[in-house]
């Protein structure tokens, strides 16, 4: 066993969200501050209690740690930039578990929809403008390459891929925070236009404004707070930089070693997981995660996920908040937010609560060929 010094020693005691979608009245930094304010209120802590602050930069040069720290009026022990939600959660956990900080807030805010900041064009490292010369653009290309390969390797169909958008749209239709709340049928999915075939428009994440924040502390300190929250009982990490050179490049390569670290170091078993959240900038990511984390055999997720299995009420609800194509494009932050909401039994509105949710797994990543973080959150009674 490794990670004993962290697992079981860190709780999430506050979560905050802004409205999602279009927030033209706020700057990205305003949104980050508002998300922090909501998480602080939720935790019952005083602002001066926060002695660790981790902020993810967002598009358009927003989210600078010095700016956000100043706007929050904080003078914490640690105040750092992070590159991703997964990095934020892992580092917050390490700061708390090491004793360096007592209460760590992690924050993200963006107004990329209002600001019309789009994704960077670079899909992967190509040393020059080979991508433009050959017409490669939009990071969704990675998922389209993945699904085409899956179709060839395992006979997967476009209709099978539709199960993800259908499941997530059902979840979004029940989520009051979701940007798009129309539930799609599989026929409606098949009628959507291609963007990068074999992917259709609803296989792609949206671009949206919004923010999320969370506060972490030790289980001992958590006992004195109104919502002592779930405990982090599993963590996996794996960076990945080889991109197309990786032998498994088509199948989200960083998740496999990440999963080994996760499962080797936790007492949680697959059957204990009540819900799964996958960072789904593009829907095929869900199939990769189901296989790489061992919920089904490699090459079978497109079959396994059929028949409502990944929907609310199914065997393994996945992305019941609606995912990034229906809920909001929040690069993983929405996953931990909704996981904690479910674990607190606070998702009762419009019957979207996962029944008896006690253990939830989250996996987030920087991209299809890139680095991955995973976490398991559990209510320790």
């Amino acid at each position: 066993m490794a990670l004993e010094s962290v697992l079981g020693r860190v709780n999430i005691v506050g979560i905050g969200a802004t409205r999602q979608g279009k927030l033209p009245e706020y700057s990205a930094d305003d949104i980050a501050v508002l998300a922090f304010r909501e998480a602080l209120r939720d935790s019952g802590l005083q602002k001066s209690d926060i002695d660790g602050l981790l902020v993810q930069r967002s598009y358009g040069d927003a989210g600078d740690i010095k700016e956000i720290g100043h706007r929050l009026g904080l003078e914490p022990v640690v105040g750092d930039s992070v590159g991703h939600h997964g990095e934020a959660v892992h580092k917050a956990a390490m700061l708390v578990a090491s004793g360096m900080c007592k209460y760590v807030a992690v924050v993200y805010g963006t107004n990329q929809r209002t600001n019309r900041n789009r994704f960077g064009r670079n899909v992967y490292h190509m040393g020059g403008n080979f991508d433009e010369v050959y017409g490669l653009s939009n990071p969704g290309a990675t998922a389209a390459f993945n699904y085409r390969r899956r179709m060839a390797d395992f006979g997967a169909t476009e209709e099978q891929l539709g199960a993800i958008a259908v499941a997530q749209s059902k979840g979004a239709s029940l989520n009051p925070l979701a940007v798009y709340r129309d539930a799609l049928t599989i026929d409606e999915y098949m009628d959507q236009r291609y963007v990068i075939a074999p992917l259709r428009i609803v296989d792609f994440c949206m671009v949206s404004d919004g923010g999320f924040a969370m506060i972490f502390t030790s289980p001992e300190r958590a006992r004195d707070l109104p919502k002592p929250g779930p405990t982090i009982v599993g963590m996996g990490a794996q960076a990945s930089f080889l991109e197309l050179d990786h032998p498994r490049a088509m199948y989200h390569p960083s998740q496999l070693p990440n999963a080994k670290m996760l499962w080797d170091n936790t007492d949680v078993k697959h059957e204990d997981v009540d819900a799964l959240y996958v960072q789904d900038a593009y829907t095929p990511n869900v199939f990769s995660a189901l296989e790489n984390y061992g919920f089904c055999e490699f090459g079978t997720a497109h079959e396994w996920a059929q028949g409502g299995r990944i929907e609310l009420g199914g065997e393994l609800p996945v992305n019941v908040h609606g995912g990034q194509n229906r809920f909001s494009y929040m690069v993983g932050w929405h996953n931990t937010y909704d996981a904690v909401t479910q674990l607190r039994n606070e998702a009762m509105e419009r019957e979207r609560q996962v029944p008896d949710a006690n253990t939830i797994m989250v996996t987030v990543s920087t991209g299809h060929w890139q680095s991955t973080w995973s976490m398991i959150y559990r209510n320790e009674r």
Binding site: G127, F130, V133, R149, Y194, P198
Partner: protein
């Protein structure tokens, strides 16, 4: 006369040998003189052994389609009017994987693992862009 209006190669010191060779209808890739690793697109230092003793070598120009996608929407100038167009990951027989296009075949007929070979499109009097076509074509 049809003017080529898609993005042109931006030639740099790093990639110049590739584009110069393309004009001669050769497809060149890089090889580490110390460990023998071969790769493309170019890098100035071997990312296996970190040697900077790099040479350009002729590829046989044959390989297969590792995966391919079809753009129905375009973000780049010149590509919009040719939608739907394909982009493929080519895996050369020598090993490197990179992105290119498949020509001489309908998008619907392209298949994963299809054998392909390089062909050269002289897009202007002084620029040639290598693309790939089915080996049987």
């Amino acid at each position: 006369m049809n003017e080529y209006d898609k993005p042109m190669p931006i030639v740099t010191d790093l990639n110049r040998p590739h584009w110069e060779a393309a004009k001669e209808h050769r497809f060149v890739i890089q090889k580490c003189s110390d460990c023998g690793h071969v790769w493309f697109p170019p890098m100035s230092i071997c990312n296996v052994c970190l040697s900077d003793r790099i040479e350009w070598v002729d590829s046989k120009g044959t390989g297969k389609v590792h995966s391919f996608i079809v753009y129905h929407q375009a973000w780049l100038p010149g590509w919009l009017k040719v939608t739907p167009y394909n982009v493929a990951i080519i895996e050369l027989d020598e090993g490197p994987r990179f992105v290119n296009n498949i020509v001489g075949i309908e998008n619907d007929d392209i298949q994963v693992d299809m054998p392909v070979r390089v062909v050269f499109e002289d897009v202007t009097s002084d620029t040639t862009i290598p693309r790939f076509t089915p080996l049987t074509a």
